[in-house]
């Protein structure tokens, strides 16, 4: 072979080799490198496109634009076009989440300090969606105050210093300082601390201007103050990596936070953060594994309780005030925390674990309750609070069931409809007689046939859920009615029958699934991605998604949960 042939052969061989070895990577999930968005670092939005060659050529630019259009078009097909728009929002932590994160990370009881945080009721079913709004200045004033107090309390706790400082609590030792900064920053901000930020934070351990305080503890205190006041603590921040596309990938740390805040109502723990750090969490199989681990952790029960508390508005019990016993009347005992705890126990036993189910939640017997009344509506902790003082309100109750358990969208009454004021009810008129007007007036009847049928049947349960057959006026309670599900009219004579019909309806199952989806996706009520929901395994007696745990597993695996919308781009 002469030189020319040699060269030709070499060229051919090496070109072929080049094509084979430098060819397109076969990734199951296409991976792009992203920089951290920790404090001091900037997101690397530029390192995106697969066309690694410089885009200065017109062809490359046109191709990139075409790819973006294509991505946008693809995004609008299938269930992606039903993505709830609010799901892409920035979220602040709720007061409960703040408390959970601090308790989990520090192990110190900060409840007294945190109790001073102002309430942030937002008038929505779940705080999730509302946490996407701006924070009131009165809250931030108090938050700043709280952050300084928490930092002082933690820095004064020797156990805390020992845990985070370890055997290295010397403020003059740069390695010790960097380590404690990284430990606190990583856990409180839920991602690694950008190296340049960590270097700057070392200043907090130098030249303390508070004389007499041990330098390391003061440094820790100041680091905590910075960590808590920085937006990366109070907010769950998710970066835009692909500015042109509608559907955005998350990075593994963002996925870790979504998982832990959904299942635990708290920050990811160190094992979860390490799986994110190594990149393992980009693999759906690893995500499923972590979901299982999170569900088995005691913190899952806390997350479930938060869901139950919000779903069934169990906070309303605190607003219920029963009149003190007066002469001649039966005293009404009411212990809101105990009844709430009873409701939690019931729901945990019947709904949380994989052995639980929606059916069980609606059919299991309730302790200290008449045996004919079963399911969660028979819990005093659930039915209580839907009254004003000791006078039950059938409209409120009917509305509660319709909105929260059946996911029926009940519009407000027309203006001038008047209000059902239980306290001003004439004593000799039963609620059923008084509400008859709802059924004769067609503009009322559309909603009120279902609302009142349920509410009036629940009149058998007094303000604290005890079974009764008569009002205090000695008039009998008529708990009969008709419910229509799937076009089928189902009459009932007593409350127990009504509860059974309700519990067995498909509506109640699908409602719980979409309610949990809203909770998981942070979407306002009624805006769940119904397309994606219907593609999930449906809750049902024979499925493994019938319990809360089962539904959580299914939801944590959906594109709606593991990705987000770039709300800067209009589809």
């Amino acid at each position: 072979m002469n030189t020319k042939q040699h060269i030709t052969l070499s060229l051919t061989v090496s070109l072929t080799a080049a094509l084979l070895s430098c060819g397109p990577a076969q990734h199951k999930t296409s991976s792009q490198r992203s920089a951290g968005i920790g404090p001091g670092g900037t997101g690397d939005a530029a390192s995106q496109t697969n066309a690694g060659v410089s885009s200065s050529t017109a062809a490359a630019a046109a191709a990139a634009a075409a790819a973006a259009d294509q991505a946008r078009a693809l995004a609008l097909t299938g269930c992606y076009k039903d993505y709830p728009a609010a799901q892409g929002g920035l979220r602040s932590l709720s007061n409960d989440q703040i408390a959970n994160v601090l308790t989990d990370i520090t192990g110190v009881d900060l409840s007294t300090i945190l109790a001073g945080l102002p309430r942030r009721e937002q008038g929505t079913k779940f705080p999730n969606a509302a946490l996407a709004g701006p924070l009131a200045s009165s809250f931030i004033d108090k938050w700043a105050d709280t952050a300084f107090s928490v930092a002082a309390a933690l820095a004064a706790d020797t156990g805390f210093i020992q845990r985070f400082g370890g055997n290295c609590v010397d403020a003059a030792n740069p390695a010790c300082v960097q380590r404690v900064i990284k430990r606190l920053g990583t856990l409180l901000w839920r991602r690694p601390v950008d190296p340049s930020t960590a270097a700057q934070l070392a200043d907090l351990f130098k030249n303390p201007n508070v004389s007499g305080a041990p330098a390391f503890a003061l440094g820790v205190r100041q680091m905590l103050e910075v960590a808590l006041l920085d937006a990366h603590f109070l907010y769950r921040i998710e970066a835009v990596r692909d500015p042109a596309t509608v559907i955005q990938p998350l990075d593994t740390f963002e996925v870790a936070s979504r998982l832990s805040f959904f299942i635990w109502q708290s920050a990811p723990d160190l094992p979860l953060l390490m799986k994110a750090s190594s990149g393992e969490l980009a693999d759906p199989a690893m995500i499923a594994q972590e979901v299982d681990r999170l569900l088995l952790d005691p913190r899952a029960e806390r997350g479930f309780r938060q869901f139950a508390f919000d779903w069934l508005a169990l906070g309303k019990l605190d607003a219920l005030k029963l009149p003190a016993a007066t002469a001649g009347t039966k005293p009404v005992s009411f212990d809101a925390p105990a009844l709430r705890e009873q409701a939690f126990s019931f729901l945990t036993a019947n709904l949380l674990r994989s052995s639980g189910s929606v059916q069980k939640a609606f059919s299991s017997s309730v302790p200290n309750q008449d045996p004919s009344l079963v399911g969660l509506l028979a819990l005093p902790g659930v039915i209580g609070g839907l009254s004003v003082a000791d006078v039950t309100n059938p409209v409120k109750r009917g509305l509660f069931v319709n909105v929260r358990l059946l996911c029926h969208d009940v519009p407000p009454p027309p203006p001038g409809a008047g209000a059902f004021k239980a306290e001003t009810l004439a004593l000799d008129v039963t609620p059923r007689e008084r509400l008859d007007k709802h059924l004769t007036n067609p503009s009322c009847a559309t909603c009120h046939t279902t609302v009142d049928a349920i509410g009036l049947s629940l009149e058998s349960l007094d303000a604290v859920g005890a079974l009764r057959s008569q009002y205090s006026s000695r008039k009998n309670i008529d708990a009969s009615g008709v419910l229509t599900f799937d076009g089928q009219a189902q009459p009932f004579k007593v409350t127990a029958e009504m509860l059974k019909i309700l519990g067995q309806s498909k509506d109640v199952q699908t409602c719980l699934a979409s309610t949990l989806a809203e909770f998981a996706w942070g979407a306002p009520p009624g805006t769940a991605n119904t397309c994606e929901l219907s593609s999930l395994p449906q809750p049902g007696a024979a499925t493994n998604v019938n319990s809360w745990s089962g539904m959580v597993r299914a939801l944590a695996n959906t594109p709606t949960f593991l990705q987000r919308i770039n709300d800067g781009v209009k589809p």
Binding site: T3, H6, I7, S14, L15, A18, L19, C22, G23, P24, A25, T29, S30, S31, Q32, R33, S34, D44, T49, N50, A51, V53, A63, A67, A71, A73, L74, A75, T77, G78, D104, T106, G107, R163, F164, G166, N167, Q178, K182, R183, T186, R191, P192, P195, I247, P249, D251, T252, V255, L270, M274, S277, A282, D297, P298, A300, E301, R302, L562, Q563
Partner: protein
């Protein structure tokens, strides 16, 4: 000696070209992938993408770190 050096140079040159060439290839193959996807899978959304981070947690920072004990469900 000279011949070997020449061949080596040629191979080196080819190697040097490999990087931008194959990036172009990757890009064009990727685009080709997209277009085949577009033709046959309009109704199937793209696979879930999750991005791996560039800044990692240094495990040495947590050497000997004992996390706070988990509080049981309240």
């Amino acid at each position: 000696m000279k011949r070997v050096a020449k061949e080596r140079m040629v191979l080196l040159l080819i190697g040097a070209l490999c990087v931008p060439l194959t990036s172009l290839m990757r890009g064009s193959v990727a685009r080709a992938d997209n277009s085949t996807q577009a033709a046959t899978t309009v109704l199937q959304p793209p696979a879930i993408r999750i991005v791996k981070p560039t800044v990692a947690i240094d495990p040495k920072d947590f050497d000997g770190f004992v996390p706070a004990p988990v509080a049981g469900g309240k």
